[in-house]
Subunit: 283 residues, 2 copies
Amino acid sequence: MSNMKKTSKKDLPEIRECHTASTGIFFKVKKILYSQSSAYQKIEVIETEDYGRVLFLDGLVQTTERDEFFYHEMLVHPALIFHPSPENLLIIGGGDGGALKQVLRYAIKHVWLVEIDSQVLEVSKRFFPWLTPSLKDKRTKLVIQDGNDLIQKTGEKFDVILIDSSDPVGPSTCLHQSDFYKRLKKCLNPKGIVASQAGSALYQLEHLREKNIFLKKIFKIVRFYTGPVPTYPGGSWCYVFLSDRIEPLKNIERDPPPGLKYFNLDAGKAAFALPNFLREKLT
Amino acid sequence: MSNMKKTSKKDLPEIRECHTASTGIFFKVKKILYSQSSAYQKIEVIETEDYGRVLFLDGLVQTTERDEFFYHEMLVHPALIFHPSPENLLIIGGGDGGALKQVLRYAIKHVWLVEIDSQVLEVSKRFFPWLTPSLKDKRTKLVIQDGNDLIQKTGEKFDVILIDSSDPVGPSTCLHQSDFYKRLKKCLNPKGIVASQAGSALYQLEHLREKNIFLKKIFKIVRFYTGPVPTYPGGSWCYVFLSDRIEPLKNIERDPPPGLKYFNLDAGKAAFALPNFLREKLT
């Protein structure tokens, strides 16, 4: 049984994210720092007490000052420690700069960041400046474009592709479909790895099951892994590691960089040990 | 970045748990099934859409129909697979019957369940009947008593003691203090193991750090482990494994029983791999 001290700050207004029609998380609002609609979505930055600054897109939590490291470290580091020579990388989405920051901890040559919404980048630079200096790194190639469009037109080949998308609603819908992954594979070097956020282990189980089925038709190696993200629906988040040649856990090619808050080799390996209810759906 | 479909059912009332003064979880209420105060606490059982029946004590989520298995399986099975011959067991707290149900999956001889509040047991039998048949098992010895009192007076020695308490507020405060663990050790056989819920990995970090310091003065082996519990604060829950002789992960004495929804050997071992922010506080 669990328990926490119960108090309330009735004087402050609230903002909430509905995880489903019936359940969700709420935050007391210290200050609304930004609230505008871009061509793609409503963008809000809220100052909260517990999570610091929180970025909402269309009313849904994307990044918080306090817990972004859980998500960004688990999205990026497994692919980077298992790839033998990651030189040319692509991040699809990730306009907050958090995944890019993790990628640039490694001695890579180039990383492309393709973000559909330039306003997300501007808001992140203004309100999450500790995540965005990496946008100015000379290895970073910033492209404002639909990721799905870029991978159809680019002649580039990548060693690692990271999909830091929102969920299968709104502008990210196509990034969760079979055709997108088929196109993606054409941009991947033979030893390449794709790592993608894959959704809530609790609320999106059926979607995960379907994704596993179509991914197995495209990639020889499809390995789901999980990690906690306190402000994401259900608290336990899924990611998927895709490759034709690289089996995760088999060869660790390099140690993770120093200074990480979540990721270490043991925690990284442990993330691939799925609980029974996920094993049943995903193997 | 994450995202979920946003809808709302404005017609239904809500119940919420404040994780802190500023953040928490809410549930739409389909029906209030029970709401009374016992000698110790306010007991409520709420029918919710997403989590089925939810037991609240003093307004705080203890057990939900949908996610109780995350917690009860992770509390019970590590101790049970690493102990060489668990015969006589004690559960302190756990009036919902969920931990007892997991314990009785093994060929043990006796398990004592000491619960301070008989009304929690009655409510659980009535509203969570799938958890409570184990209360009638002939190996179960049910005692309505303060666990702290029982361990001072009993002449019994136990192989495994499981602490399924609420947090360090209200009637469970003493169950989180150094003196309690010193007394507990006197009831433990030399090869004995204690496994206890230890709180939120996100919100109770300082409390975990302090607990680690005093536990190391009492037990030779103090190993924290974690697992997700979607409705508990922060979504990522800590447990602690205590012994003088048994090092977890070294010898797996038996396979976990069939039919578990969360726990398997790989997930059990993985739970001991702490992320950096916990390693720094707890080692």
